[in-house]
Symmetry: C2
Subunit: 367 residues, 2 copies
C-alpha cells in the first residue's frame, strides 16, 4: 500500500448487486490537487483489473504511479486545476475490501465466501465515496479497461451524478473473445493444485496458474504489430539462458512475458483476480434495457463524453468504443470519438501518453 | 490411424537439420486419384500441427477427413484430375515417426530423446516421399498453416522439384505474437506435473496442460468477429451446467472451448505437440539469405503460386501472406495473391470452403 492511501468506510451493511452484503467494508483511494469551494472540479478515475489507487506520485508517496505521465501539475489531467481521485476497486487486494480481506463475521479471510462481485458494485461503491467526500456531481468520470465498464455501471445507476465522461478502451458488454481469454486465465489458476479451492497460503501458492494467467493477459494487452518491431526474432544470448531446458526460454519475447509474470504473481491475490475477472465477463449494459445495448447507452445522462480506442486492441476492439460513442451521443451527450493508431494494443492508454494525453488534455480544456 | 494409411520408409539413417539422425523412420500418408503416365499430375499437401494424413474419405476409409469438402472427385482439388498425396508430418503422432514412436536403438519410446525437429525436416522427408513414389516434380505443393512453413522449407532446399505452389495462412518466419502464444501453450503442458519431463503414461497424463494449450489454440485459430455472431453472450441453461462451481463454465463460448479441448487432449501426444510447436517457432526462411526474408523468398523457384490469407487471422496475419506473395513474385513466379474476408480467422481454410475452394479451383484450372 502507498503511504498516500486513504480509506473510506462504506455504508454498512453494503448491499451487493447479485445478493449478499458487506459489513464494515472500505475503499482505498488517493487524491491529487484541491477540491474547490464549489466542489465542482472533481475527477474520479476507475481502474483496470490490477492497478492500485496510486495513479501518480503525490505529497505522501513520491514513487511513480501507474499513470504517472497522465496525472499531475501541468500534465494532461492537470492537478493544478482538478481535484483527482483514483479509486481502488471493491474486490481488489490493494486496500479496498475484497476476497483477501478479513470477514468481520468470522475473523478469517473471505476467500470464496466473498459475495459475488459485479462491476456495478465497483461503480456503486465509488459513487458512495464521491458522496462521502461531499461531492454532489463529478466534473468528469474517467474509466479505462475494466474501469470503463465500472464507470458505465456507475452512470446507468446514478443519473445526474457526472457532468462529463472519459471512456477508454473498454466495452459496453463483454464479448466472447474477451470472455474466452479471461475464462482461460481463471481456469489456469483454478487448475493449479495449489489454488486449493481458494484456500492457498504463502507456502502453497498457485504460482504456476497465476503466471500462465498473467502471460496470457500480457499477450492480449499488447499487439502483434508492436512486438514485430520490438522483439522480432531476437534470441537471448547463451549467457542469459540460465538453464539447458530444451523447451526453456529462447526468444526475447518469452523472457519479456516471464518478467511480467514474475512481477505480478505474488503481488496480486489469486482469489481477487478470479472475482474481478468474472465480474468483467458478467458486465452487460444491455441488462438495463432488456438486452438492448444501444438503448441502455442512450439512457446514460452526461453532457459531454470523450471515447478513446485503439485500432490494435484485440481485447476491447475499436468497434466497441465506437458503439459506446454512438450510444452516448444517441442519449444526447456531445461526444468526441477518438480512434487512435497506437501500436501498443489495449495497453496503449498506459504507455502512449503522447496520443492519449493530447486527446484527454484537449477534452478537459473544453470543460 | 485410418485404414487408408500408407507408410513410406525413409532412407536410414535420415539426417536431421539440427543434428542427429533417425534410424528406420517412416512417414504415414494417404493418396487420392491416380498418378498419370507422365507422373506429372501429383499434388502434395503438408498439414498444420495436428491433422493426420486423412484429408478426405477414400476407397479404404469412408470417414470424413479434415479437408473433406476441398478434396475429392469434382471438388476444388479434383481427384479425377490430380493424384493427391497428404503427408503426416515427421514428428507427429498420427503414423509418422515422432517422439511417441519406438526408438529402435532402445526399444522404448523416444520421448525427449527424439532429435530436435525442424519444419525443414518435415519438408525434406516429404520430398523423400515424392521421390520414393517415382515423382520427379510436383504439379503443385500445397501447405497450410504450419504446413505452409514446411512447404517453404521444402522449396528452398529442393529447387526445381515443384512447378506450382499454394501457400495458405502461413508465415515466412515465426513472429513474436505467434511465438508468445505457442510458448505459453508449451509452458502449460510442461508445468503440468503429470507431464513429468516427457515421461507420462495413460494413467498419469498431462490432461490439464494439454487442455489449456488446446483452448488457447482454438482462441487464436478463430476470430473475435466470428464469435460475436456465433456465441454473443449466450449462457448455458441451468440443466447444461452440470456443476455448481462458482467459477465453472457459464457462457456458450466456454463450453465450445471445453468441447474442443476434450476431443483433443487424449488424441494428440503431448511430446509430439511440444516438438512441432517449437519447430514452428524456429522457422525463419531468412536463415537462407543471411537473415533477409525477401531475398530468401526470391530464391524459391516455382513457376506459379497462389497465396491465400485471411484478414481476421491473428496468428498468421495477412501481412505475412502478402510478404510471401511479393517474395515469390520477386523470384520470378507468377503469383496470385488472394486476401479473403472470411470471418473465421486462421481456421478459415478448414471451414470457409466456398471462398477457399473457389480460389484453389480457379488456380488449379490454370495449371
Amino acid at each position: 500500500m502507498s503511504n498516500a492511501t486513504l480509506f473510506f468506510d462504506l455504508p454498512s451493511p453494503f448491499a451487493m448487486k447479485r445478493g449478499g452484503a458487506l459489513v464494515g467494508a472500505r475503499l482505498a483511494y488517493e487524491t491529487w490537487g484541491t477540491l474547490d469551494a464549489t466542489r465542482g472540479n472533481a475527477i474520479f478515475i476507475l481502474t483496470g483489473l490490477s492497478p492500485s489507487a496510486h495513479a501518480a506520485k503525490n505529497a505522501d508517496d513520491a514513487s511513480p504511479g501507474w499513470w504517472e505521465e497522465m496525472l499531475g501539475p501541468g500534465k494532461p489531467i492537470d492537478t493544478n486545476r482538478w481535484f483527482v481521485v483514483c479509486v481502488n476497486s471493491l474486490g481488489s487486494c490493494k486496500g479496498s475490501t475484497g476476497p483477501a480481506s478479513i470477514d468481520p463475521a468470522t475473523g478469517e479471510a473471505y476467500r470464496l465466501t466473498f459475495p459475488e462481485l459485479t462491476l456495478e458494485d465497483i461503480g456503486n461503491t465509488a459513487h458512495e465515496l464521491m458522496r462521502g467526500l461531499g461531492i454532489a456531481r463529478l466534473a468528469c468520470l474517467v474509466g479505462n479497461s475494466m474501469g470503463g465498464m465500472s464507470a458505465l455501471g456507475w452512470l446507468i445507476h446514478h443519473p445526474g451524478s457526472v457532468r462529463a465522461h472519459i471512456s477508454i478502451s473498454t466495452a459496453p458488454q463483454a464479448q466472447p473473445f474477451a470472455i474466452a481469454i479471461r475464462s482461460l486465465q481463471r481456469e489456469a489458476i483454478r487448475l493449479d493444485p495449489n489454488w486449493n479451492n481458494g484456500a492457498y497460503d504463502d507456502e502453497k501458492y498457485p504460482e504456476t496458474g497465476m503466471s500462465i494467467a498473467r502471460k496470457l493477459g500480457v499477450i492480449t494487452y499488447r499487439s502483434a504489430m508492436e512486438w514485430v518491431g520490438r522483439f522480432a526474432r531476437i534470441r537471448l544470448d547463451s549467457e542469459t539462458r540460465t538453464d539447458d531446458d530444451p523447451f526453456g526460454v529462447e526468444f526475447q519475447v518469452e523472457s519479456y512475458l516471464a518478467g511480467h509474470a514474475r512481477r505480478f504473481v505474488r503481488s496480486f491475490d489469486p482469489n481477487c483476480y478470479l472475482y474481478l475477472s468474472r465480474a468483467s465477463d458478467w458486465f452487460d449494459i444491455g441488462e438495463y434495457a432488456h438486452g438492448d445495448v444501444d438503448a441502455a447507452l442512450a439512457r446514460i445522462d452526461v453532457e459531454r463524453a470523450l471515447v478513446i480506442g485503439v485500432s490494435t486492441d484485440i481485447l476491447f476492439p475499436l468497434s466497441q468504443q465506437q458503439h459506446i460513442a454512438e450510444g452516448l451521443a444517441a442519449g444526447g451527450a456531445k461526444v468526441d470519438f477518438v480512434p487512435l493508431d497506437s501500436p501498443q494494443g489495449h495497453d496503449a492508454f498506459l504507455v502512449d501518453i503522447p496520443r492519449f494525453g493530447a486527446a484527454i488534455a484537449a477534452f478537459l480544456a473544453t470543460l
